[in-house]
Amino acid sequence: MTAPPAVVISLHGIKTRGVWQKDLAPELALAGYIPYVLDYGNLWALQMLLRGTLDKNVDWLVKEYDRIVADTRCRRPSIIAHSFGTLQVARLLEKYDHVVFDKVILAAGIVPLDYDWPHLLDANRVSWVSSNFGGKDRWPRVAARFVPHAGNSGTAPFRRLHRALHQVAHPHHGHSSYFSQGNFRQNWIPTLQLDKRAVVDRMHVLVGLLAKKVGLPRHRLRCFVLVRDAVSGSLKVGSGLHLGEASRRELDVAIPLDTEGLGAAPALAFNEMREIRQSAEDLKLLAEGFGGNSPLHPDLKWSIAMPIPSGDSFESACGVLVMDGLVELKDSSLANELIDDENVFTGLVQLGSIIDAGTNLPR
């Protein structure tokens, strides 16, 4: 029996029939997905103000969802929604318990900021949420004031956080700035392809293990998975693949694989397949190398970079796992290679398998 296909549903906003969906559909198909372009008609702004409009549309949406799941045998489709479509998705998940999604990608959303994504993520109703909000988008603020049940998730981050809720600020984006082919190919499709939930779940476990091992509070440890950027080939933190506090600038740092000198630790770990550690003195030198404008966390005290093995031979890497701390290590519990720890080794092997699966899909 063949595996059920991977399905991606798209849902537009108001005052439109979703031209972007027609642009997105062939990109999804080329990436191996079956695109379902849902169209609930050209809803006018005034209709949104009516109390019954949302539930009427959600009742239509659940029928579409059930039809798609039955027709394709895909038990867990993904969905990409814009504007009023995002509110429909949020309400759909609240209203119908049987609805589950793999990835939920929201753009310019009008969902309330206190929406309980953590509950849905912990209940495995949704595997991963990516919420994109823009600095130049005024419509979510307007919707939050006048549309029943709406909020302004298109201009601000959700308040209830979860490791599988990835929120991306786009300072210069307006309400419809998300629909370029470049965004589809560089951001949305890679998000659909990689099992990011599985990655962050393993990172979460490894941080817990390390916290227990070294006797430090979990919230003072951080974890990053770096993968090769599709365009530049440099190592970069995978979108959403980080735990712990880190600035956007720190997350955007690219490390070429032929880097030598300051900042070479992840590249060395990748190329040499060895664990590389940096002490506070190393990191101080690295920060000073940026000339007073260091992207590194000011409290960073130590860092360990470990190769994530690719393929079956354990001789090459598909990424790097970096674990670091914002407080000094207290004892000598890390005298031996962290990779030698059974759980860390297992975690790295599993991360490698997940990353390989997400990057080797046919396009």
């Binding site: 817990g208 030598e260 060895r274």
Partner: protein
Amino acid sequence: MQVSSKFAPLEDIDPERARSLLPGLNLQVSKRTFGQIAAAKFNAARGVAAAGSAGEPIGVDEAYFMREAFLSIPLQLAIE
């Protein structure tokens, strides 16, 4: 950070690479590669003593077997 015999100065690994780094940089580099650590675990599981502290990498079939074994281990979530 604690440095043990398991970690080596970069000169022990690749002198040319070490020379290319800025002076004063003291990265701690593990002596064993990921593959050598995997080989040690595989040999330990088979009850075979590893040759020294840095064993030879294991073959493709052994690596495949190990990978499948480790993929099936459930990692405990939410360890406090």
